[in-house]
Symmetry: C2
Amino acid sequence: MLYLIGLGLSYKSDITVRGLEAIKRCSRVYLEHYTSILMAASQEELEHYYGKTVILADRELVESGSDKILSGADKEDVAFLVVGDPFGATTHTDLVLRAKRQNISVEIIHNASVMNAVGSCGLQLYQFGQTISMVFFTENWRPDSWYDKIMENRKIGLHTLVLLDIKVKEQSIENMARGKLIYEPPRYMSISQCCEQLLEIEDKRNAKAYTSDTPAVAISRLGSASQEFKAGTIQELVEYDAGEPLHSLVILGRQCHELELEYLLEFADDREKFKADVLKDQEFFKPAPWVPPAEEDSE
Amino acid sequence: MLYLIGLGLSYKSDITVRGLEAIKRCSRVYLEHYTSILMAASQEELEHYYGKTVILADRELVESGSDKILSGADKEDVAFLVVGDPFGATTHTDLVLRAKRQNISVEIIHNASVMNAVGSCGLQLYQFGQTISMVFFTENWRPDSWYDKIMENRKIGLHTLVLLDIKVKEQSIENMARGKLIYEPPRYMSISQCCEQLLEIEDKRNAKAYTSDTPAVAISRLGSASQEFKAGTIQELVEYDAGEPLHSLVILGRQCHELELEYLLEFADDREKFKADVLKDQEFFKPAPWVPPAEEDSE
C-alpha cells in the first residue's frame, strides 16, 4: 500500500491520528520537500515523533525517481508525506497514477492545507476564485500571466489567494554551469515583495485589475502558534514586515460581505480607513443595477 | 480557551493528534451537528474515543445560545468540534468574534474539508471558481441564483464545486403549525437529484451555462473507506446511483488540463466517450484566438 499522507500546516502533531497510525505500519517514509515546509518541526523531530527514518524527497526523486518510492509497495507499506494535503496546491496525482499502473493500492489521508485553512482570515472559502502563484522575478524573467486571472476573479467579485514562491534546494546558474552541486540557501517570498511585484505589473499592464489601494489580507505562518493576519491595501502591505515565512496573500473581491468585513477589521491598523478602502474598491467592476426581468412574471 | 477543532471527513481517527490532545484538556465538548455529519463514527463512538461527553450543538444553540457554549471558557477549556474544518463550507467566524469580545482566547485546529479534499478527484484546486450550494427544491421554492455563479465560473474556464443540501433536525411545516416538536428523519441530497435540478434550471434559464452533455465528477463519501468518484455528463449522472451519503459534485470548466483529464478517465465508464464529451464541452466559452499585442514589442 502506498499512503499519501497530509501533515497539515505547522506542528508535528498536526498529522491526523489515522495518518500517524499508517506511518507506524510503513517500512519506508518519504517527505516531499520541495513545494512547502513544515514550520514547527525539523526532520529530526519528525523522525523521533514517528519512530521512523524520514527520507527527504526532492523534485528529482518524485518526478524522475518515483520507481524508487514505489519499489516494493505492492508487498509492504510505504508512506509519502506532504505538508498540507497531498492534493493541495501541488497535487501528487502523477505518483498515484504510476502506483495504480503497477497495481499498487493507494490510500489518501487528507489534512488541512493553505487552500482551506485560509478561511481562518474570515473570508468565506466559497467566495474565492482561482488561486494564483507568484514567483520570484529575476532580471529577465518577470512572468505575469497571473494578472489576467486576478482580473477574471475580480470582475466577478471573487477573492484571490496568492501563493508565494518557495525556493528549496536550488542551484545558482553559476554553480550549475561549473557543474558544482552546491545548493543555495532556501528562500521564501515575503508579502512585501509579493505586493511590490503586484504593483509593478499593474503599472506595466495598467488595466486596473487592482490598484495600490485595493484591500488585501496578509497571512503569515498560517496554522502555527505565531500565525498573523494583517488587513491593508496592497500599497500598505508593501511596507509591512510580516516576519518569518511562510507567507500568503488574499486580494479581496467586490463580494466582501458584512460579516467578512467585520472579521477583517480585527486585523486592520486603522479600522475606519480599511473599511473605507473596501467600500471604495467595491466600485470596481460593479455590475449595472438589477432590473426585474419582465418575462418571468408571465411564468 | 475556546478550541475550534476540525474533525476531518470520515473516521474518528481523522482528527489531528493536536486536536485530540486539546479535547482531552476540555471540560465541555460540543459537536456542531447541523451542517455536516461524520460518516464513519456515531456520537457514542466519539465519546468513547475522546473519553468525554459530547454535546450535540444544533443551529439554534450555535446561533442563539452561543453564551452557553462560551460560558466559563475564559477560565477553562471548551472544545467546539466541526466536521471538516471550522472555516470550511460553513464558517464559524461569528462564534470566534463573540468569544474575542468576551476576552476568551481562541485556538483553531484545522483539518481537511470538502473544500480541499475534493482535489483527490484529480482536478487541480487552483482551477476552481466559486463554490455553490444546491438546496432541496420544494413545490414553491426553487432558488437558482447559483446558476449565474456556474456561468461566471465556466465563462473563465473554472471548475465548480457543488455542495449538496443536508437536512438534519428539520420540522415539517405541519408539525411546526401544530406546535409539535417532532423532527423529520435526516435527508441528504443525492448526486442524481442535484443533476436533475441542474437540468431543470438550465431548461428554464436556457442561457447555456452548461448543458446535459457537460462533464462532471460525482463524489460520494469523500475521505471514507467507501469513497467513490464517477466521471460522466450531467445527464449520465442523473441516472447514477451513488449509494450512501454524503455526495458532492464538480462541474468541469474549460481549463481541464491533460493530466487532470487522464486522472478523471480512471473514473469514467466509457473513457473514449468521456474524453469526447470534455473536448466538445471545451468549445463553450472558448476565447478568441490569441493575437500577439503589437505594443509589447516596443518595450
